[in-house]
């Protein structure tokens, strides 16, 4: 029971990352009709926003260490600590959550620039060419990040106060022994909130309503005199922000390196296909579903029966879904069906 509970939590927060990336992919596909293979790279760049901010905050200077009296010792002290004392230390400690503030404008900008300069020219071209050009873009982005930050993973710490484990067992009446890392719970909450925000933006604002109308019937919306293209560009930016934030918050869970994006891209595409191309609830549901399935299949009890199942479960599910229900779990009729 305890193990199952933990696996569900595990799956939910892994699924949170999948759902956030898949949500962006689906938004882009649903609005612009573009299959964006560079979306994983956007996730990765979000993660590196956190790395950049941490690097900036910890810019340090050599200071003489007064506590060593036998010889001249020096230690690296961040400027922030020198200038603001304890406040500075706290800011550095909170660098990952603070990166969100940096990541939102940066990712929005990256998204809009990407859309205006490249993706725009590929609306009308075949899906194969969209895949290819964004695949090329993904390579370029990841190589740039590699050139700037090196090839090794750069670990990021969660703030001290939440770096421990939460006694979730006690809360749910399962015994004291059941604990779970705080940060992963926060990630789960964060992803749920972000998903909620995106959905309420689309459903409860006029802007979102127009976007949805454009997704359903672009031509009519344009005939009504609305510049739908500009809105779709903004939507692309929002998708980039969502993926970027997913990346920022994921850094304490998994130290980011330059091919993080490629690893997640394949998985999140599978998620999108399972959920149904163009269906936002489908992407979210499939993200959590596949996350949970993946964490259950990595339990030793399951692995004893089907060796290796944890490695292939997601792809296996995708194959079965595609063959039995080609438009995915919640896909609309007629979207990319053959």
């Amino acid at each position: 029971m305890d193990a199952i509970f933990l696996q569900i939590l595990n799956g939910l927060d892994k699924g949170g990352a999948y759902a956030l990336i898949a949500l962006g992919l689906t938004l882009v596909f649903g609005t612009l009709g573009v299959v964006n293979f560079a979306h994983g790279a956007i996730f990765m760049m979000g993660a590196f926003c956190a790395v950049t901010l941490e690097k900036l905050l910890t810019l340090s200077v050599k200071v003489k260490d007064e506590s060593v009296t036998f010889f001249d010792a020096y230690k690296e002290t961040p400027y922030l600590e020198l200038w603001f004392g304890d406040t500075g230390t706290a800011i550095i400690d909170w660098s990952v959550p603070l990166s969100i503030i940096l990541a939102i404008p940066v990712m929005l900008l990256i998204g809009i620039v990407m859309e205006r300069s490249l993706i725009r020219h590929f609306y009308k071209r075949p899906h194969a060419e969209q895949i290819l050009v964004t695949f090329g873009l993904a390579i370029v982005l990841q190589e740039l990040v590699k050139a700037a930050f090196g090839a090794n993973p750069i670990p990021q710490g969660a703030p001290d106060i939440v770096s421990g484990s939460a006694a979730v067992g006690a809360i749910f009446g399962l015994g004291e022994a059941v604990v779970y890392p705080w940060w992963r719970l926060i990630y789960l909450a964060f992803s749920l909130i972000t998903i909620g925000l995106v959905f309420s933006f689309l459903h409860f604002t006029t802007y979102g309503m127009v976007v949805r109308a454009g997704m359903a019937d672009r031509e009519t919306v344009e005939l009504l005199g609305i510049n739908i293209e500009r809105r779709f560009t903004i939507v692309f930016g929002i998708a980039a922000v969502v993926a970027g934030l997913a990346g920022v918050m994921y850094t304490p869970v998994l130290p980011p390196d330059y091919h993080l994006g490629m690893d997640f891209l394949v998985l999140s595409f599978v998620v999108v296909v399972v959920g149904g191309m163009g269906s936002l609830p489908g992407a979210v549901a499939a993200g959590f579903l596949l996350g949970i399935l993946q964490s259950f299949s990595s339990m030793t009890e399951v692995k004893d029966i089907f060796p290796g199942i944890d490695q292939i479960i997601i792809y296996l599910v995708a194959v079965v879904i595609l063959l039995t229900r080609p438009r995915g779990l919640l896909g609309r009729r007629g979207v990319m069906e053959s």
Binding site: G136, L137, L322
Partner: protein, 392 residues
């Protein structure tokens, strides 16, 4: 592209002859480019085979597979196992590698070809990733996991022992009845196989079967309305291209009898897509060119490091040489993939037909001066001399 015009068989034969001469004299005319060493030329041949096989599927039918590296991997593993169990002769290795990849492609194609478009891409990608993940984990007894499958002194090699070939203390190398699989002899083995594969590929291109594959690309529905069931044709194309990939994989094992799972990763599938697009999708000679160019530049660019660059820019004043060298350094050496990605993007954006389209445009520019087209990308002129046989 527009290879639908009827070409007489005689012309094809002449073309084949020219290509053979060009390929077989590579050790001579590649000298000035600094690429005339066997390892690299073998890579040209092997990836040429891989790419022309891929072109049969992607170029003719338009089905974008993102999982062809799986077949390459299967071919490699099979070949190494054949070296271990049967004989160091390359013939059984290649036969088994090709046949097994073909069977594997049959199984994957049977499932994947039920869908088209992006779903097909995702399905092939999913299968390739499954094979890759399994090769790393559960299939370790067969694939030797992360270490990679290697030859060992104590391998049984039944056929070799029966025919009395005994290894003399050192590890045996793959050979063709005594002709070694490495060095220049290895290059000629690969070159011969490449030419044979190319000939088959040429025949497929010109055959009614090839025409039907092209019809699938241009309009699958209409093809169905005229009474053709497209599945068997697609299936055949998929299996053939899988077998080409398997042959390429087993040749990789011939040149270096070590098979690792990273050969099956999806980025490896991406590479063959890059090669095919760069050369020219659906063109006859494009994929070969693409393979040559990518492997050549990979080799040249990767060799650059900071010192070499600083030397190259030593004519500049000191304060300028360092920044210039570091900027250029982004694109070469370790950063070679950055260049590759950029070039690839430019090709997809401006020249979807790849280098072959560039060449066609250039020839049109030369022959018809009145209809001037300003599109003459600089890098094509460079490539032109490498394509002495590119006029088909």
């Amino acid at each position: 592209m527009s290879n639908t015009k009827i070409v007489s068989p005689k012309k094809d034969m002449i073309f084949m002859a020219i290509l053979s001469v060009v390929v077989l004299t590579m050790p001579i005319w590649l000298q000035p480019f600094g690429a005339a060493y066997p390892d690299l030329m073998q890579k040209f041949m092997i990836f040429g085979i891989f790419a022309i096989g891929y072109n049969i599927l992607f170029g003719l039918t338009g089905y974008l597979s993102f999982g062809h590296a799986a077949f390459l991997g299967v071919g490699s593993y099979t070949a190494v196992w054949s070296f271990k169990l049967l004989s160091m002769n390359v013939i059984p290795a290649m036969i088994f590698g090709t046949v097994l990849s073909g069977l594997f492609a049959l199984a994957i194609g049977f499932v994947s070809l039920r869908r088209s478009g992006i779903y097909f891409s995702i399905l092939t990608l999913a299968f390739a990733q499954m094979s890759y993940n399994l090769a790393y984990s559960v299939l370790t007894p067969i694939t030797n996991g992360e270490t990679g499958l290697q030859l060992a002194q104590s391998d049984p090699r039944i056929l070799d022992h029966m025919s009395g070939i005994v290894a003399d203390g050192s590890l045996p190398t793959p050979n063709l009845f005594g002709i070694e699989g490495i060095g220049y002899s290895g290059f000629y083995i690969c070159a011969a196989l490449m030419l044979i594969s190319f000939f088959i590929y040429l025949r497929i291109f010109r055959s009614p079967f090839g025409l039907k594959l092209r019809a699938i690309k241009s309009n699958q529905n209409r093809m169905g309305y005229t009474g053709f069931s497209t599945r068997p044709y697609l299936m055949t194309a998929f299996v053939i291209s899988g077998m080409y990939a398997g042959l390429a994989g087993s040749l990789l094992a011939v040149t270096d009898p070590l098979a690792g799972a990273e050969r099956m990763q999806w980025t490896a599938s991406g590479e063959v897509v890059l090669i095919t697009i760069l050369g020219g999708v659906g063109t006859l000679i494009g994929p070969l060119l693409g393979a040559g160019i990518i492997k050549y530049f990979e080799n040249i660019f990767s060799a650059f490091n900071d010192d070499v660059l600083l030397n190259a820019f030593s004519f500049l004043p000191d304060w300028l040489a360092h920044p210039v060298a570091s900027v250029v350094g982004l694109f070469v050496g370790e950063g070679w993939h950055l260049t590759l990605g950029l070039v690839f993007m430019l090709i997809v954006i401006f020249l979807p037909g790849g280098i072959m389209e560039g060449i066609t445009r250039l020839t049109r520019l030369v022959t018809k001066r009145d209809k001037a087209e300003p599109k003459s990308e600089a890098h094509e002129t460079k490539e032109k001399e490498q394509t002495s046989a590119g006029e088909v």
